[in-house]
């Protein structure tokens, strides 16, 4: 089967299956999977292609979620513009965190990105006039896109799938461009990258901003879908879930984080059949994947990992 045909079949199945099953529960999981695909690609840009362990994805996600919620609740905005503004808020957060963190060593980068995320969580907790602190923002109204109010789960599923597909497409275009090559080259050897004229800082800052846009958008969609957010959206557990999805899915590949998002959103739900040993089974499965598919689930998809995609040492 040609690659294009395989992609078409997977896309058709993805589109049809939850709608055919029709269960609100399955649709809910499918919608959340779409959000996780967006978030996983956001992290993949930095971790997979850029080789930097970023813990800032929840910061972008949280800022996007709060931006959309505040615009909707305070200003009555509920249109596509709020999604765009949430993505822009993600870009601004990406630049604000990227500017100091991308100048320090790789180890310090991890700490700076984590600290920035925790700082934003503190702001969300304490700026009560704006965020209502730990009470969170509730009753976020439905989003209206081009005159259509997205309320039903079927509509949400199509929206989540469309945005996730668009994010994967944009990632594909970015990593296949000269910019993507520069990003991977900087991951492979920073000194050599500088010596051949790659502006490593600007390349990474652009990747960080784009990563911020993706996660900010996911945050806005999440806020509209769940209709409630609290400072937990900045939580470390978001990073934890995304790291599992990206690394065990196959970091630095396009399909790996998608596979990771699908498998690791669905798996905890499937394990509900054995509630007593659910966490134990989940851990064992993670261990088995690390042991037998260290390069990620993407290697099961029948394609050899591209040379550009291999993770840095």
């Amino acid at each position: 089967m040609s690659r294009t045909r395989a992609i078409a079949v997977v896309a058709a199945l993805a589109l049809a299956l939850p709608l055919v099953l029709g269960s609100p529960y399955v649709l809910h999981i499918a919608i959340m999977t779409g959000f996780y695909v967006i978030l996983a690609q956001s992290l993949n840009l930095i971790l997979g292609y850029g080789g930097l362990l970023s813990l800032a994805t929840p910061a972008f996600f949280g800022v996007g979620a709060y931006a959309a919620a505040i615009l909707a609740l305070r200003f009555g905005w509920d249109g596509a513009a709020t999604l765009g503004l949430a993505a822009l808020a993600g870009v601004a957060t990406g630049i604000a965190i990227g500017f100091p963190s991308l100048r320090v060593s790789r180890h310090s980068f991890v700490i700076v990105t984590l600290s920035a995320t925790l700082l934003l969580q503190l702001v969300a907790n304490n700026w009560e006039d704006l965020t209502r602190g730990s009470l969170g923002l509730a009753n976020i109204p439905a989003v209206r896109l081009f005159g259509v109010t997205v309320e039903a789960r079927g509509g949400w599923y199509l929206l989540s799938l469309a945005v996730a597909g668009a994010v994967v497409l944009v990632t594909h275009l970015v990593v296949g461009s000269r910019f993507g090559r520069a990003l991977v080259a900087a991951r492979e050897n920073e000194q050599l990258a500088l010596a051949v004229g790659i502006d490593v800082f600007r390349t990474r800052l652009f990747a960080f901003s784009l990563s911020g846009a993706f996660a900010g958008l996911a945050g806005a969609l999440y806020a509209y879908f769940i209709t409630y957010i609290d400072p937990g959206v900045f939580g470390f557990s978001v990073s934890e879930a995304l790291l599992i999805m990206v690394i065990l899915g196959g970091s630095g590949t396009l399909s790996g984080p998608v596979a990771g998002a699908v498998v690791f959103t669905a798996l905890p739900e499937l394990l509900r059949i054995a509630p007593e040993v659910r966490s134990l089974l989940y851990g064992v499965i993670l261990l088995l994947i690390v042991l037998y598919r260290p390069a990620g689930l993407a290697t099961w998809l029948g394609r050899r990992r591209s040379a550009a995609a291999a993770p840095s040492a």
């Binding site: 000269r178 910019f179 090559r181 520069a182 050897n189 010596a195 550009a308």
Partner: protein
């Protein structure tokens, strides 16, 4: 001679230890110039200062000094120096191991026109044209350096000698004015040393100026028109190979006081 590179009074110290102590010299445009000296004499530190990887404490370096397009290298970061036309290789061989051999060459051509991020991602016509030109340039260099059969392989799969060739080819992707080569034949077998020598002469004949740090003194004496000798961070002497090879100070620096035979320098 018209100098293409001028180094003037460059000083570099590390926590009180003087690595470079007021180095001054000119490199003639279109020449192959050698920079030799015993281990620890400051050769690589000087390369680092010229290419922006280290800031010197005093002194300056210029590209095209006296010309209308003079560039003060010591005030620029490495990326700007590379884009100004000064490329370098490293003492410890560096390639992008998980990129294909062809992509290594394409990644080395980043200093071309600066398109906007949107133009790059959307692959506008000028971006596509530039990419085509770079692919064709990469194909020429792959053929010239005998790497065409390995173009699609990851660079990590190449032999050490092939990686040395790739490193040189990468430095040539954007037709630099000056190439700083740090031990280009270190660890390479004698047959490949001869091949690399021929490549270096061809590169010089295209108008690229080469400044070479190398411990294989036979290669340096065979290839270079002028040699600068460093010792203890100072410029010990300079001159044509025949003169330098018989300079007792050079013999003493390499072999210790009392050494007499210039043949001993023939690595």
């Amino acid at each position: 001679m018209t100098p293409i590179l001028r180094v003037e009074g460059v000083v570099k110290t590390y926590q009180g230890v003087t690595a470079l102590d007021g180095i001054t010299f000119d490199v003639a445009g279109g020449s192959i110039t050698g920079l030799i000296g015993p281990n620890g004499s400051g050769k690589t530190t000087l390369f680092d200062c010229i290419s922006g990887f280290q800031r010197c404490d005093a002194g300056r370096a210029w590209l095209s000094p006296g010309g209308p397009a003079v560039v003060e290298l010591t005030s620029l970061p490495p990326v700007r120096i590379a884009r100004a036309g000064v490329r370098r290789t490293f003492q410890q061989l560096k390639v992008f191991p998980n990129l294909s051999v062809r992509d290594n060459l394409l990644a080395a051509a980043q200093s071309g026109p600066g398109f906007s991020a949107f133009a790059e991602v959307l692959r506008t016509t000028p971006v596509r044209e530039h990419e085509r030109a770079m692919r064709s340039r990469a194909a020429e260099l792959l053929a010239e350096f005998g790497l065409a059969p390995h173009a699609a392989q990851p660079a990590a799969a190449l032999s050490y000698g092939q990686k040395k060739l790739l490193e040189l080819a990468m430095a040539l992707m954007t037709d630099p004015q000056v190439l700083l080569l740090d031990e280009p034949v270190a660890g390479v077998n004698p047959t490949l040393v001869e091949a690399l020598k021929r490549h270096l002469v061809r590169v010089r004949d295209r108008g690229v100026t080469l400044l070479i740090v190398e411990h294989n003194l036979k290669l340096v004496f065979d290839l270079c028109e002028r040699i600068f000798v460093l010792d203890g961070g100072r410029l010990l002497t300079s001159g044509p190979p025949a003169e330098v090879a018989h300079d007792p100070r050079v013999l003493a620096a390499y072999l210790g006081a009392g050494a007499k035979s210039p043949a001993a320098l023939d690595g």
